[in-house]
């Protein structure tokens, strides 16, 4: 894939000002795993509620007024968009403040920003999803999109893992993908507990054992940086070319629109040129910058 021209993307800026948030209202919060909650929310403005659209892979800036903003991928699918969903891991000032909010509370929302998954590249192909921990969040948007457009794709493989059974996110989705006969789902944990009957092992290892074919396939990878770094070599071993390996990256961001400077990997800005990249685009820099 190449850098997409984000200036051609549909915009929903408040007063044509990139820094002004829209007000959104929390409709529901689902506990996913320790410290992780999925926030379901909708625009306060009725017109925007109807008109807003996004593509799988795009992200948004959510804010708690008085505390600040942070970046989240939109984890819901554009095919199921009566509301929006973001998964929030309670790790910093903003995410802690978000977790203190309840249903009915207002947040700031800027977006959708960034590029999206290269649907044209994936059409008619086998899709191999490789996810780790909360890194399933951006993949989930695309997985539901692919399931809702099932005839456009051949096999769908999902290899997903987390540190422990409790750290598995979106368990309700894992369950329904597991039951879906058109999807091959492998779930693994680094270390199981007494009640865990599934697989044990790190995601890259399990991927190597599952050995999905690289022929006519696109791999979509997201997880903690260490998982991403170890997954690419495995995919290369399986015959995937750097162009066939897609990932979506997370970096500290502030503006979300390519101005504030901090989210670059080499000359590419995760907010402006990503967050979705092919391994071919970033391999010069990823070893030492991610």
């Amino acid at each position: 894939m190449t850098v997409t021209d984000i200036s051609q993307r549909k915009r929903f800026l408040a007063e044509d000002n990139i820094y002004l948030p829209h007000i959104v209202v929390i409709e529901k919060i689902i506990d996913e795993s320790p410290g992780v909650g999925t926030f379901h929310f909708n625009f306060k403005d009725e017109k925007l509620r109807k008109e807003f659209s996004f593509e799988a892979g795009q992200f948004a800036e959510l804010s708690v007024f008085g505390v600040g903003e942070a970046t989240f991928c939109i984890t819901s699918s554009p095919t199921r968009s009566d509301h929006l969903e973001c998964a929030v891991n309670r790790v910093g000032a903003v995410t802690n403040a978000l977790h203190r909010l309840g249903v009915g509370a207002e947040m700031g929302f800027r977006g959708p920003f960034g590029n999206s998954f290269p649907l044209e590249l994936m059409e008619g192909k086998n899709l191999v999803f490789v996810g780790g921990g909360i890194g399933l969040a951006p993949l989930r948007s695309l997985i539901w999109y692919a399931i809702d457009n099932r005839d456009k794709y051949k096999n769908i493989d999902i290899i997903y893992g987390a540190r422990s059974p409790a750290d598995l996110s979106f368990k309700y989705d894992l369950e329904s993908w597991g039951k879906d006969k058109t999807v091959n789902m492998v779930t693994t944990v680094d270390k199981g507990d007494k009640s865990w009957k599934g697989r044990e092992g790190f995601v890259p290892t399990v991927l190597e054992q599952a050995a999905p074919s690289a022929k006519d396939a696109v791999a979509i990878v997201c997880g903690p940086p260490v998982m991403i770094r170890f997954t690419f070599p495995v995919l290369e071993k399986l015959g995937f070319t750097p162009e066939q390996m897609i990932t979506t990256l997370e970096k500290r961001m502030k503006c979300g629109v390519g101005k504030c400077g901090r989210c670059n990997i080499g000359n590419l800005y995760v907010c402006r040129d990503g967050p979705v990249f092919s391994y071919a685009q970033i391999k010069n820099f990823i070893s030492s910058e991610y």
């Binding site: 021209d5 984000i6 200036s7 408040a14 007063e15 044509d16 000002n17 990139i18 820094y19 002004l20 948030p21 007000i23 804010s63 007024f65 008085g66 505390v67 600040g68 903003e69 891991n89 790790v91 910093g92 995410t95 009915g104 509370a105 207002e106 700031g108 903690p224 940086p225 997370e250 970096k251 500290r252 502030k254 503006c255 629109v257 390519g258 101005k259 504030c260 400077g261 901090r262 989210c263 670059n264 080499g266 000359n267 402006r272 010069n284 820099f285 070893s287 030492s288 910058e289 991610y290």
Partner: protein, 341 residues
Amino acid sequence: MANKKIDKKNISKLLKKWSQEFSVFVPSLENNEAIMAEWDGKDISFLDWYRNTVKPPKANFLPLMEKLFSFKKRKGNYQIEVPPADKSKQLIFGIRPCDARALTILDMTFTDAYEDPYYLARRRNTVLVGMTCTDPYDSCFCTSLEGSPSDAANVDLMLTDIGDSFLMEAVTDKGKKLIASASELKDATSADESKATEVKDAAASKITRKIDARDIDKKLLASFDDKDYWEKVAAKCISCGICTFLCPTCYCFDINDEMVKNQGARFRNWDSCAFPVYTKMPMENPREEKWHRIRQKVCHKYEFYPMNFGVIACTGCGRCIRLCPVNWDITQALNSLPVKV
């Protein structure tokens, strides 16, 4: 249109005239340091001492701190209020060619893909009156970067000191308008023109610090993973960030909220890639080590900006060299790159 000239004695008359239309900024001393400050209506003594400002004029467009919007909370509902667009017209008098060029470089980021309304409102309401740099510092190296002490490409009106008067070259329509009705001006003679050429050549020849900017982006790309080199380059840096704050092309900023009781605002502030916290994420930091950050600073200017915008994001103003508390020197770093292409 032939060039004009103005007697130095009449500069304040001209500034007064411009003051009717613009907020006029001139070099001034604050705590014994040169900055661009609003003219007090009389003092033009800066003509005697001014070389360049410590704080670059980027601060007139991207202030150290600015309010993006304010908000109020009432019964759990938030109301957002945007400050009215900055419509005040400003004229910056005496901007140096390196700093004017820096604004052209900043424009690329602030117009790219999404426009930055705050920066661009000020930029569009500004007139730049440049001044040939007749006494450059030994830290200056603009001539290595397609610049020169008399480069008029990025200003509206350019002044060159030719003794008792300044030669005035109107570069843009805005510049022509500035001097169209000024009775203090005389037509420049051919003797004035040749004197100006002499002054410009002399100024350029005073700049002896050089870098080899040819293929610098390729050399940096090839040296990107050379940890030993970058560690050596970064060794004496103390990560204070002053080189980035005072750099006319550095634009990185942070966004923060402040709130007291039910009222607050979102601000942006200058930030710096020299600080570890700049890229710090809860679980890890891609630029934890000092050499990561120095590499980012150098590569952003000399490798990534050329890749994205086709220009080097450094104008050779030399501030990062002469104002660094530990004498870190970017020209040394660039001239000692291990890979030759």
